[in-house]
Symmetry: C2
Subunit: 158 residues, 2 copies
C-alpha cells in the first residue's frame, strides 16, 4: 500500500544504511531529505523500516550532486525536483489515465522540468566559466611579469 509500484524497479530493496553507504551519505541525511520532501522510500517493511530501490539511489545521487557540485541549498533542490508528493501524483496520474491528451500534458510537464533543470545548471556553468576567464586574465598578467623579470635579469637563474 505504501509500495511505489510502477513498471520498473523489480530489483531488491535496500535498507537505509545500505543506500546511505552506496551514495556516501549518512542515514540521518537520507531521513532528513525525506523530511524535506526530496524523496520517499519505495516501500516500508512490516516493521516500518524504510526500503529503497535503484531509482531511489539514483535520485539520492542526483540530490547529492546538486548539493555538492552545484552548491544548491536543499530548498532549491526541492524546487528543482519538486515535492516528491507532486512527483508521485504525476506518476500515478500518468498510469491512472488512458486519456492520451492527459498523458501528453503530464509528459510535457516533465519535459519542462528537465528543461528548467538544464537551464539552471547551464547558467551556473556560464558564471563559473566567467570566473575562470577572469582568473586566467590575472594569471596572464602575473605570467607576463615573470617574463619581464626573466629577460631583464638574465644570469642568476640555475
Amino acid at each position: 500500500m505504501t509500495t511505489k509500484e510502477g513498471p520498473v524497479a523489480a530489483g531488491r530493496l535496500m535498507r537505509i544504511h545500505e543506500v546511505a553507504a552506496e551514495v556516501r551519505l549518512t542515514p540521518r541525511s537520507v531521513r532528513y531529505y525525506e523530511e524535506l520532501g526530496l524523496l520517499k522510500p519505495a516501500a516500508r517493511s512490516d516493521g516500518d523500516y524504510r526500503l529503497y530501490d535503484e531509482t531511489d539511489v539514483e535520485r539520492l545521487r542526483f540530490i547529492k550532486a546538486l548539493r555538492d557540485d552545484a552548491g544548491f541549498s536543499l530548498a532549491e533542490i526541492a524546487q528543482l525536483l519538486e515535492d516528491e508528493a507532486a512527483r508521485e501524483r504525476g506518476h500515478a496520474a500518468y498510469h491512472a489515465t488512458t486519456d492520451p491528451v492527459e498523458r501528453m500534458r503530464i509528459l510535457h510537464d516533465r519535459l519542462a522540468r528537465f528543461d528548467h533543470q538544464i537551464e539552471m545548471l547551464r547558467t551556473k556553468i556560464e558564471r563559473l566559466q566567467a570566473m575562470v576567464d577572469e582568473t586566467e586574465g590575472r594569471r596572464t598578467g602575473t605570467a607576463a611579469r615573470i617574463n619581464e623579470l626573466e629577460s631583464s635579469g638574465a644570469e642568476s637563474a640555475r
Copy 2:
C-alpha cells in the same frame, strides 16, 4: 600606519555600507568575512572606521561569486584566497626585496595559486556538465515518449 600602500589604488576610499551596497552584501557580512580572514580593509579612519578601495571591492566581488556561483564555503574560499595575512606578507615581501630571485619566487607562488583556483573551478564545471548531460539524457527519453504518443494517437490534438 594601517594603510595598505602599494603602487596602485589612489582612488577614493569607501565606507563599509558603500562597498556593501556596491557588491550587494550587508555590512555585517563584510565584517564577518574580515573576521574569517578573507579580506582586510585598505585602511582605517582616525575614528577606526573601515575604509575600502577598489581592489577590496573586486576581492569582495570574487568572494561573493565563489560563494554564490561556485557554492564554496567561506572556509574553502579562505583556502583558495589564502589568509589575507599571508597575502599581505607576500605583497609586502615583493616590494621589500629587490632580489630578483626572491621576486621570482613570489610571482611563481602567485601563479601557482591562480592555477589552483582555475583547476578547482574547472573541476566544478566538469561535474556540472556531467549533470547536464545526464539530465539531457532523461529529457531525450521523455521527448521520445511524447513522439510515440503523438504519432500513435494522431487525431485528438488541437
